[in-house]
């Protein structure tokens, strides 16, 4: 018996001492580090305050979406001070709302959300913000600025614009040039924006006319089916813009099967297979417009900075920005080497 009590006493003693050390540690942190830390860039790899980031991503049934999840996970792993709470990816609005509510209940420090449907998930974004959890809204934007602290995403309009300008420059000396468009899923807002941007760019080139547009479904199968019909419908044209490199695998198959090589093709998104095809230069695919999945890694950076109350390296602001739109660069043979590492499978 006495042995046990002494052991218990020892335990209590150690606990008390360590608690004291811990307290001291905390207070000293708060008084000294915090004000100074505002100057530290987010990209700083030095470990800071522990941050738990909740990540609610999409169902990875598509190359780009899969790359989004991978980018988020591997970036979080890089930081010793970041714990990633990740939910099962979902394309179902109701299910994703439930998952985000779970993350709110777990009291994560920051939320990163790529909503299946931005408008439909605005309410749960608001709910998180009201609960004091800052939300980094990734790619598909919420309806209300109150529902997120920071938005980061790609530029769908710019994607169309840059694709249009690239094609326009290539064809500007050709009289009566004909262009066709293989769009993505027509019930997505982003598809409309990509088409609007494309049409806006083509307006700068009066010699070019868009003669056909068909929507596919972002899948290889639909890309092959729709492209083969387009090729049959248009016996001659000079350029094709395909919104998505995944469906582009199918589109390229259809072009090969029809034995056509009389036009130039520009892809979209930046898949590895597309970049490799551009590099080897043995098909009609000459360029692709980026929609970088690295935005997920950047979202983790921003979430970490938010959790540690830091600004962004190189910017004078103490806080991270309210919104960040990534540039839709055109990758062609000239610069493909530089972008190849970002290509997703």
């Amino acid at each position: 018996m006495p042995e046990i009590t002494s052991r218990r006493g020892l335990l209590f003693g150690t606990a008390a001492v360590s608690a004291g050390v811990l307290l001291a540690g905390c207070t000293s942190n708060e008084s000294d580090d915090e004000p100074a830390s505002n100057d530290q860039p987010a990209a700083d790899d030095k470990p800071g305050k522990q941050v738990t980031i909740g990540f609610a991503g999409p169902q990875a049934d598509h190359g780009w979406l899969n790359a989004i999840n991978d980018n988020a996970k591997s970036r979080a792993k890089k930081y010793k001070d970041v714990t990633l709470e990740i939910t099962e990816g979902s394309n179902d609005t109701a299910q994703q709302i439930g998952q985000i509510e779970t993350l709110i209940n777990k009291k994560v420090d920051v939320l990163v959300v790529l909503p299946a449907d931005g408008k439909a998930l605005t309410q749960v974004g608001l709910q998180a913000m009201r609960a004091g959890i800052p939300v980094v809204n990734l790619d598909r934007i919420f309806n209300s600025p109150q529902a997120y602290r920071c938005w980061i995403g790609g530029d769908n309009y710019g994607m169309g614009l840059n694709a249009g300008h690239y094609i326009g420059e290539k064809l500007k000396d050709k009289k009566g040039a004909r262009v066709i468009e293989l769009a993505g899923l027509d019930n997505l807002e982003l598809t409309k924006q990509r088409t609007q941007g494309f049409d806006a760019a083509l307006k700068n080139y009066p010699n070019i006319k868009k003669v056909a547009r068909q929507a596919a479904e972002f899948t290889v199968e639909s890309g092959q089916a729709k492209m083969s019909q387009l090729l049959q419908a248009q016996s001659n044209f000079d350029a094709l813009w395909n919104h998505d490199d995944d469906q582009g695998v199918g589109a390229l198959r259809a072009i090969e099967q029809a034995g056509r090589d009389d036009f130039l093709m520009v892809g979209g998104a930046g898949a590895l297979s597309a970049m490799q095809a551009i590099e080897s230069d043995n098909s009609v695919l000459k360029a692709t417009v980026l929609y970088p999945p690295t935005m997920a890694a950047s979202a983790i950076d921003l979430a970490r900075a938010l959790g540690q109350s830091k600004g962004i390296g190189g910017l004078a602001e103490f806080e991270i920005p309210a919104s960040l739109t990534l540039y839709s660069a055109v990758v062609d043979k000239a610069n493909v080497k530089q972008y190849l590492p970002t290509g997703f499978k």
Binding site: H62, G63, N66, R213, Q224, Q232, A258
Partner: protein, 339 residues
Amino acid sequence: MTQPVSPPRDDTPKLSPQVEPSPWRAVVARADVRTLSLLGVLAALILIGGITKPDEFLDTRNLQLVLTQASVIGVVTVGMTFVIISGGIDLSVGAIVALASVWATTVATQDYGFVGIFFTAVIVGVGCGLVNGVLIAYGTMVPFIATLAMLASARGLALQITDGNTQVVTVDGILDLGERDSYVLGVPPLVMVFAVVTIIGWLVLNRTTFGRRTVAVGGNAEAARLAGIDVRRQRLYLYLLSGLCCGIAAFLLIILSGSGQNTNGNLYELDAIAAAIIGGTLLTGGRGTIVGSVLGVLIFTTITNIFALNNLQSDVQQIAKGAIIVAAVLVQRRTASTT
């Protein structure tokens, strides 16, 4: 004649005026009015296509294209027709096509080349069909539920195998089958497979004991059992058959698209059921024809082709597709009831 008092007697007065049909009507009846009306719809579509886009539509390449696009879903529909005639349903066909196509295109199977890919696709298809069949025939599960469960799990497994990636086929011999060089007398190999499956399906349904048993089970399972048919085993075979067709379709899809993706075969179940119904197969079982189903598939593919050639947008396409399904079934009802 007295007023009929019970449903069985109801039939007698209706039958009497048809005792002496005109010779022309007899010919029509033998050729099956339903098939004729479907051919009429198809002819009307061809007319529309020919008028709106004469150069592009009435072109050998376009005919090859339409038939090629019809091949994959066509093979699935042949299997589906058998299942529906027997009074069942297979909601898992699209998911089985997806699973078979991604399993067959994993790097491991690509090492064994053409043979490896073909057999993996077929074995996965038959395997899924076996699970469906055992659950339905011996586990006495409702086909709707059993195949719904297969739909969910096969899609999940396909996603797990690919991890969301598109698995591109690197084996050359396979891709060549989709190229123009491999057409024999202008017929693409895919279309040949489709034709062979259709002919075998027709022979099995109309000329074998297996076919008669299928119709009997769908017409009245209890009567079929009393007549000495092993209804359970018959059902097992039917889902195996549907799975086999999905495996073959997956292989065709791999040739066509040059890859395996977990989104393959999306909504095939609905397209195949719709084609079978348009083709005159009763959803309650007991009646249906392979020719009708295949015509249903061709009608769908031709519609899609005409829409694309005329550059109609997808919203218009969907509305028109729905309207044409309704119109085709209504026309069919009308022609069927006049004989």
